[in-house]
Structure formats: C-alpha cells, structure tokens
C-alpha cells in the first residue's frame, strides 16, 4: 500500500491525544479514602480488568477512528495488479481506435499503426468482438462489434490517411458508447495513435464505462523533425487602378535542428511564380513576402509549397485571391451629391470594401441605377409616391436603403410599409443643452465596432435639430437621443434592409461629421445595408462548406468537384452542405453538367496538427478510465500514475466512512457507559 499524500501521516501523532487524555483522566481521578480494601482487594483483579476492558474498548475505538481518518487523508492506494485485470477470462469487447490524422503520415507511422492494429485483431479469441473506428478531426466507425477477423483485416487494409487533425475527445466518447452497449464481460479500448499533444484538450467529461480498459499503443518516435507552412497573409493594395496582392508566407520548424535554405515556392494558377529561400532556427519560424501579384477580373488560385519532408501534407498551403468586390452606393439628394459633402467624402475612403458612389438627383434615378446599386442613400429628399414604390421594390429585392431625414425629407404615408420609420416634426434643440446620442444598440452590426471602450465616442456629438421619427411596429431603434426620441431606426423589408436617420449627416444640424466616429459609422451603415462579407481566402479541412454562400453572386450550385476529382451532386432544393475532407481546391459548378467553376474554395489542413510534440499516453488513460479500469500492459508498457490509481481505487472514501462510523459507535458506547 502506498500513499498519495504521505505527509498527512504526521497526523498519526494525533493518536497521542486520546492516550494523553486517557492518562490525564486517570491521574485526575479523585482518591476516596476507605477504611480497608480488604473486601475490595478480594475482587480487585476482576474489577480492574472489567473497568480496563471497557475503557480500552473506548480508547481503541477512538484511536482507530482517528487513524482511519488520518489514513484517509493520506490517500492510500494499492500498487498491485488491479482486480479487473486479474480477472482474466471471458470474452472481450474491443474497440480499436486508429488515428488517421495526417500527422500519422510522418515517416512510416501509418504502416506501423496498421500493423499494430492488425496484431490486435490477430490476438482476438473466437469469442471476442471488435469494432474499428478511424478518427482524425472526424470519426468514422468502419466496423461495429464483429468477431469476423477477415472483415476486420479488410477494413484495416482499406484504411487511408485523412487530411484532418487529431481530436481524441469525440472518438473516446464514441468508444465509451460502443462499450456501454456491449454485454461482454471484458471491455477494452485500444488506441493506436501518435498521441499528439495538440489533439488532447482535457477529458471534457469523456469517461469510459466502469471496468473498461484503455490500452494506448503509441506509434510516435521520440525525435521528430518537421517543417510546415503557416497560413499566408494577403495584403491588398491599389497600384495605378489595378488591385495587387502581396502574399506573405511563413515556415515553422517543429524540430530540434536549425534548417537553412528552406525553399518556399509561390504558385499562382498552378504555375510556380517565385521561390524564396529562408533559414529557420530550431523550434522557430521564418517568413518571407513574395512580389505583389496583380489581380485580373477573375479569382485566382494560389499555393505556397515547401520541399517534401517526412510529413508532406503540411508542406502546401492553398488560398484563393479574388478581386475586391466594391459596394455600389447611389447617393440621392436634391442637387445630385453636392450637399452631401461629408457623406460622399466618407464613402470615397476605404479599401475593404471599396465604395463606389454615384450621385443622382431625386428625379433622375433610373431603373438601371437601381439595378446596379447595392445601397441607396436618400439625403434630405422629399420622396414622391411613385419613387417610393420603386424604392420599396428595390428593397424587397435585397437592396439597402438609408433615409436621412434632414430638414425636408419626407416619405409618402401610404408607402410607410416599405420603410422603418416616418419622419415627423422637427425637434429644435438650439436652445438649452444640445441633444446627444445615447442608448446605442451595441449588439447590432452597425454599432458593433464601437462596442469596446475607447473605440468611438458618439456622446461627443451635439445635435441641434432632428426629426421626430415614428418607428414601424416591427422596426428596431438602434440609437436614441437623450430625450428618448429615436435617432436611428432599422427594419428588414423583404430581402433588404432600411435604415432611417433622424437628423442630418452634414454639419447643419449636428457636428457628428467632424467627430472621429463619423467615418466608421457611415462605413458600417453602408456595409450593413449592402450585407457585405469579407471573402474567405481559404477554409480548413474538417469545416463545413455551404455552396450557396461560397459563391460570389447568386448562383445555382449543383455540383462540387473535390480536389481528388470526385463529383458530389447536391440536392437541387439547396440546403446541402459539403464537409471538407481533402486538401486542395474544391470547385463549385452550376448546373448538373457543370461546365466551368462558378467558385473555387481552397481547403488547407489544420496546421496545428503539424506540431508533432507527443504527450504521455497515461494522461489520456488516467483521464478517461472509469473506476476499476486499469492499463493493460501492451506494446508501450505504460504505467498508471499514482494519482490515477488512487483516484480509481478511492480507498480514502471507505476509510473516512469507516472512521465516521466508528466515531458514531464510540459515541453510543460511551453514552451507554456513562448512563450505566
């Protein structure tokens, strides 16, 4: 027997306390003078004996209770073989978990893993049943609880490495559920893996059923050296009206030796463009920027490649570079944009996204303008009923409409269903304290960037006049003035969005345009109304692709072509998603035949997997083992840690319980003695 916290055994010195009390108690006893002990001495032996026995019993109970409690605190456990292990015999239910994350492609790991799995299958007796689960970032139950060795072997033979990372939690949970359903007496999980540290993020409540044994089969080597590319960063710039992208790529050295002369090659559209040579120190990273790439109209495929090493999967990084898609805005006012100086200036600034602004007078807005506009801004415009109807349709179709009430802005009453709020009478705040913006809806997209402290102060702006807005029933008030009047009202109409601003966006009625928050505020409103999303240059293997959203425009994606050339037909109704399982470029095609790609998505492996740092398999065993489970000695003779031994045996609980019980009994006995 060993102890987890042997220091607590010092507490055994406390055993002296009842002894001392006993002794003191005896010494303190009063002396009764008695004429003669002649008769008492005739029964002394017996009487003293009886008295002692009773006291010894109490003393022993107290000492034993104290000792038990002290022992419980010392957390004892047995090092001997576990009863669950000793009780061999009976059929086994084996769940064979084989790691097929791409780190298993390092060297000959995969071959060794498969042979270890095969030997586990070979060791099965006729009554044993086994399940095979391949796992990476996803789990794949290949065979479930069969005793047919031929099928098991063929399942192992057909196994292939995936491009995913390692996640132990889900697969162990799955193994636990398979074991829980089993009726066989001995249950075992064999985990064949390289035990990467990055794949383990705590047990997360995963626990194998009681009595189940987890046998880790570590495949990894002690010394590993691996180079991996890091995710690229794309920096856009505009040079003589042409958009250019500068690609910066990095390389990480997960190894103890420094590497000189690592070649990084940038491929654009499948052709090598440039090669950079960098030097990387041990366990360090280096980066290099390639020459800018000028973007043409279409999106282009880019890749960064390193020379092959022991693990080739993380030596390539794919990305898509698409030309920036500007947000088209139409600024409508009485004088075709001359009044909205601040607004048009604000919209002319910005790279991601760019705003392309066209100014139109209120009566000169053509259907073509509406067709080519993402966001329409009505600055202080009296809208006639006909225009209101057209704008209503524009919004319903998915357009964004910003109505700046200003001094004269109106909206016909009968078309009120198309907007968020109707501007009413003017509120004059030139007398008395000026109005301020309060009660901003920071949870909304428009105000979200200003949420954290010191990221924009709207309360600095003074408002001397604004229009009283009457919001629609289903409209949301995003901001209010300090008197409670709505300042900014938002409403979704059909597929589009409408914002109504109660004041003006020039310096006539307020000084907001000269405040620092003005520019981001206008940009946020325009982005929101245009439903603008940053294009994602790449996705990670294991994530889910929604083909409808991946395409740049409204496209009818019917087919997805995977990097390996496999065609995946999608449900024509839409709503199908594709799980990215391979590294490379996924092509999304329109129609059943799919002539040319409507969009391309780059998929990269999870680069955290390239960190091959191993962990101690005992950590996994200790975390997921149920009570009574212990490690079976196998390829890696892995020992349980003392703490997990103690945790599974939980002797302290019984000791504490026995101590408490003994104390209760002691109370009873001593009470009885006193009463008698």
């Amino acid at each position: 027997m060993s102890f987890l916290t042997p220091l607590f055994l010092i507490g055994l010195a406390g055993l002296a306390v009842p002894l001392v009390i006993h002794l003191i108690q005896r010494e303190r006893k009063q002396v009764v003078q008695f004429p003669s002990l002649m008769f008492l001495r005739r029964i002394p032996y017996q009487s003293v004996q009886r008295r002692r026995i009773r006291h010894w019993l109490l003393l022993m109970m107290r000492l034993a209770a104290l000792a038990l409690i002290v022992l419980a605190f010392a957390r004892p456990f047995f090092r001997g073989s576990d009863p669950a292990l000793a009780a061999s015999g009976g059929a086994r239910e084996i769940v064979l978990l084989v790691d097929r994350s791409y780190s298993m492609g390092y060297g000959d790991r995969w071959t060794r893993a498969l042979s270890a799995a095969r030997s586990t299958v070979d060791d099965m007796s006729a009554a044993d049943r086994a399940s095979i689960v391949f796992f990476g970032s996803a789990t794949d139950v290949v065979l479930r609880s069969t005793s047919d060795k031929a099928r098991l072997h063929s399942a192992l033979a057909g196994a292939q490495l995936s491009a995913g990372g390692t996640h132990y939690g889900p697969v162990l949970k799955l193994a636990g559920s398979i074991l829980a359903e089993s009726s066989l007496p001995r249950r075992e999980v064999v985990l064949v893996s390289d035990f990467q540290r990055v794949g383990w993020c705590g047990a997360d409540g995963v626990r194998l059923p009681d009595g189940a044994v987890l046998t880790p089969v570590p495949i990894g080597e002690s010394e590993t050296a691996n180079l991996a590319v890091t995710p690229v960063s794309l920096e856009r710039s505009t040079f003589s009206d042409q958009e250019r992208v500068t690609v910066t790529a990095g390389v990480v050295n997960h190894g103890p030796a420094a590497r000189d002369g690592v070649d990084m090659t940038l491929e654009i559209g499948g052709r090598a463009i440039q090669t950079m040579r960098v030097a990387v120190g041990p366990n360090a990273s280096a980066s290099a920027s390639f020459a800018p790439v000028t973007l043409t109209g279409a999106e282009i495929r880019g890749s960064i490649r390193l020379a092959d090493d022991a693990m080739p999967r993380d030596n390539a990084f794919h990305f898509m570079v698409s030309p920036g898609r500007p947000v088209r805005t139409a600024l409508v006012d009485r004088t075709a944009g001359r009044e909205a100086l601040y607004l048009s200036r604000a919209l002319s600034v910005g790279d991601a996204p760019r705003f392309v602004t066209t100014a139109r007078p209120a009566d000169g807005l053509t259907a073509d303008d509406l067709q080519r506009t993402d966001v329409l801004i009505l600055n202080d415009v009296q809208v006639p009923a006909a225009l209101a109807e057209r704008l209503g349709r524009f919004v319903e179709r998915g357009g964004g409409l910003l109505i700046i009430a200003g001094q004269r802005g109106t909206w016909p009453q009968e078309r009120a269903a198309s907007v968020a709020a109707l501007p009413g009478d003017m509120v004059d705040r030139t007398r008395g304290p000026a109005g301020r913006l309060v009660a901003l809806e920071y949870g909304h997209t428009v105000f979200e960037p200003f949420r954290s402290p010191r990221s924009g102060d709207f309360s600095a702006a003074r408002f001397y006049g604004y229009r009283a807005l009457t919001p629609q029933a289903d409209a949301t008030v995003l901001a209010r003035f300090d008197d409670g009047a709505p300042a900014l009202v938002e409403r979704r109409v059909g597929a589009g969005r409408v914002l109504v601003w109660a004041s003006s966006l020039d310096i006539e009625w307020n000084d907001l345009p000269v405040k620092p928050v003005f520019l981001p505020f206008v940009h946020q409103m325009a982005r929101y109304l245009a439903a603008y999303r940053e294009p994602e240059p790449w996705l990670t293997v294991g994530s889910v692709l929604d083909p409808g959203r991946a395409a740049a425009g409204p496209a009818d994606i019917r087919t997805v072509v995977t990097p390996s050339g496999e065609r995946v037909a999608l449900d024509p109704e839409g709503g199908d998603v594709v799980t990215l399982e391979e590294q490379g470029f996924y092509e999304l095609r329109e129609g059943a035949t799919g002539a040319g790609p409507a969009a391309t998505v780059a998929a990269n492996v999870d680069l955290s997997e390239s960190d091959l740092t191993p962990m101690d398999p005992r950590e996994v065993v200790a975390a997921v083992s149920g009570s009574g489970a212990e490690l079976a000695g196998n390829a890696g003779t892995v020992e349980l840690t003392d703490a997990s031994r103690e945790a599974t045996q939980r002797l302290w609980w019984y000791l504490l319980f026995a101590g408490a019980l003994l104390l209760a009994a002691e109370t009873l006995v001593s009470n009885r003695t006193m009463i008698r």
Partner: protein, 304 residues
Amino acid sequence: MTLSTATVPGARFVDPKVLARIGNLELVARSVVDGFINGLHRSPYFGASVDFAEHRGYVPGDDIRRVDWRLYARTDRYYIKEYEADSNANFAVLLDVSKSMGFGSEGMTKLEYGRMLAGCLTYLVHRQRDRVGLVAFDSDIVEFVPPSAKHMEVALHVLDRLTPSSPGSLRVPLNKVAEHFGRRGVLVLISDLYEDPDAIMEAIGPLRFRGHDVIVFHLLDRAELDFEYADASAFEDLESGEQIPIVPEALAEQYRELVRAHINALTERFSANRIDYTLVNTSAPLDHALFSYLSTRERLTRVR
C-alpha cells in the same frame, strides 16, 4: 452520681441523651466473674445473696448462722445452706484505635462513635459499682487503664486523647490483654474487625478461654455497609495507603455480598463461642443502638 462535663474532658462521650435511654438498664456479665464487692454479677464464690445454691455438711469453723436449722430438724444433721454470691466485675473496654477507625462518611468517625460507646458503657458499669478499665490498641496496646472502681475518670481522660494513628491488628494486643487480665470480667471489644473471621477468632479466643465475658461491638460506617459510591475513583486503604482503582457501580454488589458474608461468618463464629456480637451502624443513633443491645441482652439473661 452526676457527671460534670466541665471537669472531665472525656465526659463529652457520655451523652445524656444516651444515658436517659439506657439509664434503667444494666450490663450484667453473662458468665461468672470475679469480684469482691456485692454486685450484679454472678460470682464464682458462694456468698450472701438470695439465690440458694446448695447444702453441704457442716464442718467446724462454719458460721453457725448459716446452718439450715429446718433441715437439721428433719434429718438431725447439720447442713450449711450455701447461697450464690453476687459480685462486682472487672469491666474493660477494648477500643480499637487503628487508622481504619478514623473513617466516617457522615460527620462522625467510627472512633468517635466508639469513644461515645465506650464512655457510655464505662459510665453505666461504673454506676453498677463495677470496676472499669480501658485498653486502646491498634497493632499493639496504645493506652491501658487497669480496671478499678476509681478509674472511670481516668478512662474518660484517656478516651479523650485517643487518635487513630497506625494500622491495627487484633491478635497481638488482645493476646496481651488476655495474659494480663487474670480475673474474669466483662470485656467489651469495640472494633471494625477488618480481619479474617478466623484471625479474629484466633485473637478473641484466648479472652474467651480465660473465662471473660466478651462482648463485641462491630462498628461499621454506612458507607462500608452499603458502598454507595458513584464515581470511578482510586480507593485508598486508610491503613496501608495502598490505592486501587475502583468502579464502584461495577462491584458494589460483590462488595456488599462480601461484607454480608463477613458479618455472617463473624456472627456464626461468635455465637458458637458464646460471644455477644453486635453490628453497629455508626449512622444509627448511639442511644438507639445501645438500648436495643442492652435490652436484648437483659432479656436473654433472664430467659437463661
């Protein structure tokens, strides 16, 4: 006779209350005792009394007043009519002053009780014109007042001075008493008799064999009889100083049993040897105890 408590120190042991109760009683020797003065006790000699003893033939020198003339008239022979002589007796109190007698659970120790008992008896027998003496002993004789008609006050003095000082035993002092008291008399032994019954008999036997009328007052405190102790404690022997841890509740019953057996053994042995034995519980009033003893003895004497 009056007794002045102011003049005699030991007079406090003569409790008027007790005397008032026992004043009309007598402590008469059951057996024949030696004495010179006409008294209450039977004498080994014939003398002047009203109790006819026997006739015997006249021998010259006899007092002719004692010739039974009626018998001479019938038988024509001279017979002398002899009468039982009544005598005064040697009376001695043998008071145990061993340490164990110093025990008293309720105010009065056994020794004090014994002193009062001795004082009262001394006074009583002195009034009967008997000679009073006193022997105080523990393991040996501590004080000795030889029996004399004039020694009552001395005896009371001595009683007053007695203190329990050392452990006691009966055999040595009583054997000495037996050797010393040549004349038969009444001996009152006042002790707590903490010895084996056989040892006690061995000690008292010689007194009895010498013809003394032995009266034993066995003084025991109520605590000794009932043993009503509650707490477990160390019990210390007053005589030896030895301590034994005792849980009274556990062995009270056994103790009482042993004491009863001891008293029964004593009663049996004493009655077999015609020794008067009285167990006196010192918590009972002395007058009551003494009265009941004396009246019983008187009654038994008459019956006999």
